[in-house]
Symmetry: C2
Subunit: 298 residues, 2 copies
Amino acid sequence: MTTDFRAELLASGLLVESSVDGLYGRSGTFEKVVRGIDDLVTSAGADQHAAVLHFPAVMPRLVLERSGYLRSFPDLPGSVSVFEGDDDLHVGLLERLERGENWTELLTASDVALCSAACHPLYPQCSGRLPAGGRRFEVFGHCFRHEPSLDPARMQAFRMHEFVYLGEPDAAVAHRDLWLERSADLLSGLGLAVETVVANDPFFGRPGRMLASNQRAEMLKYEVVCTIHHDAHPTAISSSNYHLDHFGIGFGIESANGDVAHSACVGFGVERITLALLGAHGLDPDAWPLAVRSRLWP
Amino acid sequence: MTTDFRAELLASGLLVESSVDGLYGRSGTFEKVVRGIDDLVTSAGADQHAAVLHFPAVMPRLVLERSGYLRSFPDLPGSVSVFEGDDDLHVGLLERLERGENWTELLTASDVALCSAACHPLYPQCSGRLPAGGRRFEVFGHCFRHEPSLDPARMQAFRMHEFVYLGEPDAAVAHRDLWLERSADLLSGLGLAVETVVANDPFFGRPGRMLASNQRAEMLKYEVVCTIHHDAHPTAISSSNYHLDHFGIGFGIESANGDVAHSACVGFGVERITLALLGAHGLDPDAWPLAVRSRLWP
């Protein structure tokens, strides 16, 4: 995405920048679009009879450790440190702060980490044996990824709205495939010129290149991509993933027959979809085509 | 709040516990109430013509440093650490993780911290000279406070919905007083038995006792309190605060006449209000009194 579009978003007040790249405040208008997208995604999944869960931006650090995320993407997550000292250490902290020195050295690691993906805090809830047919969840979550960027489509803090299935392998693949089609339909129904592509995650380091190439070869990850602004590269605004037994192993989840559970999820990046709509239809949602507005705000 | 009420909330699925005290998932029903409260608070402030800003759960660490929060409440905030090493250090991290050793020592402090109060990320946006009459904002934010507790009214991660004024001292006091009355009316209109009390923040350590007593003596902070469950102590579900020139000094904000700006805010704790409603009217919002439902979901 060009810095021009970023400048337009900031000038319009839809996004408010901060002193850190990739952290923004959102206007009421921006959030009105977010709510419309969330409601539309919820409607699209009404037939799933999914249990709805909203998670905060932080989760137990144990979930990060078991998720495998530190193996594949160690550079992206955030761990939370806190002050556990007494009055004397507090005096020392304030002295360092005043002198502009490093005060964070006086902190200790807490048992809390930022969520990297909306569905991570869900998996420990499912440890043990699943019922026959598996389970379906609709998850609203906040993600943090430490990748400072001036591209508004690459925020450090953003929301993801997911539908997750846990259970049998066949049903997991079917969930991924159903939602791949459904998400492409939903997004093209909003007037977005989308395309569905095989994709890979941005795995870290040298070993990551092999992981990425395996993921593509096995076609585990599909993305719905869209050119958010006319002279930018296509960006993923939704992705559908088959995790094999990755989370089943990590969190001790079994399907009804006692095998390790497989899982799949579709994730809608609500900030990116909002940006794509603003790029396609203009910065004033009240002036968007009626067909789009009536879908978002029926 | 008794552990009985906590057990009821968990059994009903309204809250889903995690392995860390004070971190919960919320059900769709819980969030329906949250949305109703947010919409009602927004309506109550329609005459303020406030600029609306939604902030994510993380903000620049610089905001935490300038907010004064580390002086008064060093034990509550969270600073975010990230991995910035290479492939070799990554191998070391994974080895520590596998052996159950402390891998967080290999992280470095990022320039990001968790928000402690919804309005903190707003203040750096206002640095410089304010227009005549000051400025009003409606702020939606996520707060993190490291105070693990089994009391569902003391979550580590929760949301706050605020109206903030920055400008002249008299107008700041008037904002605080207006919203003190308005918030008590709004909350009692939801069938909650509320009371308005002079309050103090939980300042840290020995010097904190004096700060708390000064805050009470100057009557800077009022809380609307409510007994969330019948055999619990009253809990603040909203607070109205006059900050004097605290944030004006910290963030270099001047009123139109060049004096340091004063500020005031009202904060609605949406999780606590939701819990108070569940405690007062029962765990099934569809069975709440019509007068309450018609206010929340008109």
